[in-house]
Symmetry: C2
C-alpha cells in the first residue's frame, strides 16, 4: 500500500460515482458550513459597527437582522429555482452566462473564485484567531496551526465527497444543536419572564451614553457587515451534481435545511441579544468577549454546556473553509468545461473529485496565509463583495431565464428574482461603499483582470481548435518515405542499434558524423558498415562527415538537418537520437547530454517536417 493510498485512499472507479454521491445529511456539512458558521460572526459584525451608539445600539439589531433575514429568504428562493433550472451545477456562473452573456458569467465566476479563495484564508485564520485568543500561549504558532488545518482540509477533500461529509458531520451538528438549544432555552426564559429574562451570567454593561447619533450611513454599514452572514448561500447551487438521485430534490432539501437553520439562528440570536441587553465589546481590546460567548453564558451559565458550545463554535469556524473546498473545484470545473480555464480543472482525480481545483485552492490559500503570517484581518474587507456580486448577477440572470421560459408561475418567479436582484444589487453598492478604501478596491481591480485572463484562455483554445481541426482528405498527395538521419559520434553498439532500426523501415539513411582527427569510422567504413549492409542486401546508408572548426557538435548537426529539410520540401526528416539512459542518477555527469540537447534544439527550430526518433540505450553499468 503506497503512501498515497494511506493518505487519500484507494482509487475509485468511474462506475463508483453514484455511491460517492451524497444526500442532505452529508450535504449540510459539506455545502453549509460556510453559511451556518456565519451565525457565529454575522450578528457580532453588525453589533460591532453599532458600538458608537452605546446601549441604544443594541435595539437596532432586531430590525437589521430582520432585513438580513428577508434578503436571505429572497436569495434562497432564487437559488432554489436555479437548482431546478440548471441541475448541471455551476450556479451563478451558469445562470449569468446563459442569460446575460459570456462576460457577466465570467464576472460572476471570477467574483466567486476570489471569494472562495479569501474564504479559506479568512475562515481558517478566524478559527485559529479564536483559538489563540482563548489560549494565548499558542500565539507564536498561529501560522503553523493555520497551515495544519489547511493541510487537513486538503487531504480530507482529496479523499472524496462522502468521506469529507462523514468527517464534518459531527462538528457541524454539534454546533447547530448547541446553538439551537441556546436559542430555544433563551426564548423560553424570555417568554416565562415576560420579555425580561434574568441572565445567569450578566453580560458586561454596555456604554450607556451614545458617542454618536444614529445615522443612515451607520445603519447601512452595520447592515453591510451583517450581510457577511449570507455568504455561502450559493454553495449548493454550484454543486448540484454532488447529490444522489433525485438530484434536484436532494439539493433543494439541503439548501432549505441550511437556510432554515440559519434563519432560526440569526433571528434567535438577534432577539435574545436585545432581550438580554448584550452589546458587542470592542474587538482587539482587553475584556473582549464574543457576542455568542456572552449570550451562551447569559442563557446557560458558564457550565459544561457552555464549554461544549464554545468548542464547537471554534471548530466550525476553522472548518468553514471547507465549503470553498467543495465549491471552488466544481466552479472551476464548470468554467473549464466551457474552456475559460485550463481543461485539467475538469479531470476527476483518483477519488472522483476535481483534484486540480483542490490543489490550486490549497496553494493559493496557503500563499495568502503565509503572506499575512496567519492573521488575515486585512483581507476581511475584500470579502463578501464577490459573493454579493454573484448573487446579483445570478438573480438578474434568473429574470432573463423566466422571460425566455414563460410558463406556470414564471411571472411570480420573475418578480421574486427581480426583487432579489435589486436588493442584492443595492447590498453590493453598500458593501463596496462601506469597504472600498479598506481594501474592496483590490477585488474591483482583480475581477476584470481575471476576466481578461479567462477570455484569453478561451481564445487560445479556440485558435488551437482551428489549427488542429482535422483536414478532409488527409492522405491526399501521400508523402514519400522519410529521410533518416543518424548522428553518430563513435561506432558503438548504440550506433549499430540505431542503424539496424533505421534499415527496418527506410531506404534513405544517412549517418551524420562530425569530423575528428584520425577518424576510425571514415577509415574503416567499408569493413564496419558497407560490407555488412551489402551482405544483408539492405539499402546502403550514406556517410556524411561535417567539419567542425570550432569544436561544436550539436550545432553542426542541427544545421545539417535544417539544410536537408530545406532541400527536400516534400519529405519528412526523421532524426534518430540515441538516448543513453543511465541506471543511477549520479551517472548523469559522466555522459554528455547531447541526445537531450539535440532534441531540444531541433524542437526549438519549429520545423514541422522534422521528427525525432528516440532509440533508447539502457546502461546496465
Amino acid at each position: 500500500m503506497s503512501l498515497t493510498d494511506v493518505l487519500i485512499g484507494r482509487p475509485l472507479a468511474s462506475s463508483e460515482d453514484q455511491e460517492q454521491r451524497i444526500g442532505p445529511s452529508r450535504g449540510i456539512p459539506i455545502f453549509g458550513l460556510d453559511a451556518l458558521s456565519s451565525a457565529a460572526y454575522g450578528p457580532e459584525a453588525a453589533l460591532t459597527i453599532l458600538l458608537p451608539l452605546g446601549a441604544a445600539g443594541v435595539g437596532y439589531i432586531v430590525p437589521l437582522s430582520g432585513a438580513i433575514v428577508a434578503l436571505l429568504v429572497i436569495v434562497y428562493f432564487s437559488y432554489r429555482q436555479t437548482i431546478a433550472a440548471y441541475p448541471q451545477g455551476g450556479g451563478s456562473y451558469t445562470v449569468a452566462r446563459q442569460n446575460l452573456g459570456e462576460r457577466f458569467g465570467l464576472l460572476a465566476g471570477a467574483a466567486l473564485m476570489i471569494d472562495y479563495i479569501l474564504n479559506v484564508a479568512v475562515g481558517i485564520s478566524a478559527g485559529v484567531g479564536a483559538l489563540v485568543s482563548a489560549v494565548p500561549s499558542l500565539q507564536p504558532y498561529t501560522l503553523a496551526f493555520c497551515l495544519a488545518i489547511l493541510t487537513i482540509l486538503t487531504i480530507v477533500n482529496l479523499r472524496g465527497l462522502r468521506e469529507a461529509g462523514a468527517i464534518f458531520m459531527a462538528p457541524t451538528y454539534l454546533f447547530v444543536g448547541t446553538l439551537l438549544i441556546v436559542v430555544a432555552w433563551g426564548a423560553l426564559e424570555t417568554f416565562l419572564s415576560g420579555g425580561h429574562p434574568h441572565p445567569m451570567v450578566p453580560p458586561p454593561r454596555a456604554a450607556g451614553h451614545a458617542e454618536a447619533a444614529v445615522g443612515v450611513w451607520l445603519l447601512l454599514k452595520a447592515f453591510a457587515s451583517g450581510c457577511t452572514a449570507l455568504t455561502g448561500v450559493e454553495a449548493v447551487s454550484n454543486g448540484v451534481q454532488a447529490f444522489r438521485e433525485p438530484v434536484v430534490k436532494n439539493a433543494r432539501a439541503t439548501l432549505t435545511a441550511i437556510i432554515a437553520i440559519l434563519i432560526v439562528l440569526l433571528a434567535g440570536i438577534a432577539g435574545l441579544v436585545r432581550a438580554y441587553g448584550i452589546a458587542a465589546t470592542p474587538p482587539g481590546e482587553g475584556g473582549y468577549q464574543s457576542v455568542l460567548s456572552m449570550l451562551t453564558a447569559a442563557v446557560a451559565g458558564r457550565s459544561v454546556f457552555y464549554g461544549i458550545a464554545m468548542a464547537s463554535v471554534l471548530v466550525v469556524l476553522c472548518l468553514s473553509a471547507n465549503t470553498s473546498f467543495a465549491d471552488f473545484p466544481r466552479l472551476c470545473r464548470v468554467i473549464a468545461l466551457d474552456e475559460y480555464l485550463p481543461r485539467s480543472f475538469a479531470h476527476r482525480g483518483r477519488r472522483l473529485v476535481f483534484s486540480e481545483g483542490i490543489w490550486v485552492l490549497a496553494i493559493l490559500a496557503a500563499g495568502l496565509l503565509i503572506l499575512f503570517g496567519g492573521v488575515t484581518d486585512r483581507l476581511i474587507p475584500l470579502f463578501a463583495v464577490g459573493a454579493f456580486l454573484a448573487f446579483t448577477l445570478s438573480q438578474a440572470g434568473m429574470v432573463g431565464h423566466w422571460r425566455k421560459n414563460p410558463g406556470r408561475g414564471a411571472r411570480q418567479s420573475m418578480l421574486v428574482n427581480g426583487l432579489g436582484a435589486v436588493a442584492t444589487g443595492i447590498t453590493v453598492l453598500v458593501v463596496l461603499a462601506a469597504k472600498f478604501l479598506e481594501g474592496a478596491w483590490v477585488v474591483v481591480l482583480l475581477m476584470p483582470l481575471m476576466l481578461l485572463v479567462m477570455v484569453a484562455i478561451h481564445r487560445h483554445y479556440r485558435r488551437v481548435y482551428q489549427e488542429t481541426r482535422p483536414i478532409e482528405h488527409f492522405l491526399h498527395g501521400h508523402p514519400r518515405e522519410p529521410i533518416v538521419v543518424i548522428p553518430v559520434a563513435q561506432w558503438t553498439a548504440i550506433a549499430q542499434k540505431a542503424l539496424r532500426f533505421a534499415l527496418t523501415f527506410a531506404t534513405d539513411v544517412r549517418l551524420v558524423h562530425v569530423e575528428c582527427e584520425d577518424d576510425p569510422l571514415v577509415r574503416d567504413w567499408e569493413s564496419l558498415v558497407a560490407a555488412q549492409v551489402r551482405e544483408a542486401k539492405l539499402p546502403m546508408p550514406k556517410l556524411v562527415t561535417i567539419p567542425s572548426p570550432y569544436r561544436t557538435v550539436i550545432h553542426n548537426i542541427v544545421e545539417h538537418v535544417l539544410e536537408l529539410e530545406r532541400e527536400n520540401p516534400y519529405r519528412t526528416i526523421a532524426v534518430i537520437v540515441s538516448n543513453l539512459v543511465e541506471k543511477h542518477w549520479y551517472h548523469y555527469f559522466l555522459h554528455n547530454q547531447r541526445a537531450e540537447l539535440l532534441t531540444a534544439l531541433l524542437l526549438v527550430k519549429g520545423e514541422p517536417r522534422i521528427t525525432i526518433v528516440n532509440v533508447p540505450w539502457f546502461l546496465k553499468a
Copy 2:
C-alpha cells in the same frame, strides 16, 4: 554581438591553437604567480613560528631559508626533467601513474586538485584580508570583494591563455621588479655599512627575551611553515602543452626564470631580515605589520616607492589564485583523458581552454569562500600537504622513470630525484605532523575518498565500453519492420499528421485510444479513417480501444505497449508521440503534458525494443 562575445570573446577555431600558445614572458605570470607570491608570505610564516624565541629567533631565518632554498633547487631539477620526459603535461599525476601505478598517480592528482581548490580560496582571501587590514572600513565587504575577484579571474581565464597572460603581466612584473629593487638596495646598504645597515624607518623592537628555548620541534614547525613558499613550483609541468614550440624549451625556460627569481627573493629577504633585525609582529594583534612592509620601509623609507611596492604585493596576493586556474583545468583534462574524471573536462571551450575545469574550480572556490564568509584562516592548515605529497610522488616516479630509461646522465638524475623524494617526503611528514590536528586530517581523509570516486568513474566508463562495444555481425537476423503505435485522444490534425507519417514507413500501424463516453473516433472510424486509407491504397491501421475504469490514460497506454512488446519478441515497437510545442511558455498550463509523461514513463520501463518517435506539432496560437 552577444553578451558571451563581449565577456569571453569570439569563438576561436581549433586551427588557432598555435597562436594561442605562450612563451616565457606570459608563462611567468600564468604559471608563476602562485610560486612568486609566496615570497610575500613564506618567510613571514616561518618568522611567526619563531616569535616565542624573541629577538634571537630572527637569527634562525637564514639557515631555515637556506634549507628551503636547497629543497627548492632539488624540486626544480626534478620538474625540469619531468617537463622533458612528459611533454604532454600532467606533471606529478602523469609521472606517478606511469612509474608507480594507477593508485599513486590518482593520489598525486587528488592531492593537487585539493591544493588548487584551496589555493584559490586561500589566495583570494589572503589578498582581500591584506586589503581590508589596510582599509578597515572595507571590512563588511570582505566576501563581496572575494567573489568579485573570483569572478574576474574566472572570466579572464575563460577568455583564453594569451589574454590571461597579457592581463597578468603588468602586476607580476611590477611585483617582481619592486621586490628585486628592495633586495638589491638593501644588500648594497648592508655591504656598504659592513653588515649593519641603518634602517630608514626602524622596525618595531622585537621582544628581547625568549619565552621559549629553541627546540628541534619548533624549528621543524618553522621549516614546515616556510615550505608553503614551494607550492606552485609544479605548475609549469602540468601545463607544458600551453607553450609554443619548442614546447619543452619554452616550458623549461619559464620554470627556470620563476625559480631563479624566487630563490633571489627568498634568500635576499632572509639575509636582509637578519641584517636589519626584523622580527615578525604577532598576527591579528594591534600594531601588526607584515615583514615585507617593515623590510621595505627599513630599506626605502615610507616613500612613494614603498606605496607602489605594497600595492603590488596586495594585487599579486589577490591574483596568486590564477595559477590554479591555469593548472586545475589542465590537470583535470589529463585525468579525464584517462577516464578517471567525467570526459567533459577534456573538451576545449570556445576560447580553446578547458572551460569545464574553470567553471568547476570557480564554483568550488566560491562555495568555500561563501562557507567561510571570505575569511579562510581555518583552511590554511589544509594547504601545502597536497603539494608536498605530489612533489614526493612525482620525484619517486622520476626515480622509476630513470630506472626504466637508463642512458647518459640517468644515474645522476636518479640520484637528484631520489634525494628530492626523500627530502620532500620528510617535509610531508613534518607538515602533516605540525598541522594534523589543526585541519590537515581533512585532506588525509579527502584524498582516498577522491581516489575511490575516480576509480569508480573509471570502472563505469570501462563497463560502458564493454556494453557498447560494436558487435561483429550487427545485421545478422535482420529484424522485421516495426509495429507502430499511435496513442490518439481526439481525431485532430495532430493525430492525422502522426498517422500520415506512420503510413509512410510502416504496414502494421495501431491507433490506440482510451475509451470514453460517446466516442466519435469509434463511431465514425469508417468515414474518418478507413475509407480514406482504402482510397489511398495504404495498409489499413487497426483501431485499439482500451477501457479506463479509473480515468487514467498514460498508464493504460504504457501497459498496452509493454504487452505488445512481450507478444512480439522480435520486433521493435515505435510509439508515435505528438508533442504539442507551445509558442509561449505560459501556455504550458493550458495543455496536458501527456506526450512528455508518456515518453518519460516508457523510458523508465527500460525496454530496449521500445522506441519513441516525436512528431512535433508547433502551435501558432
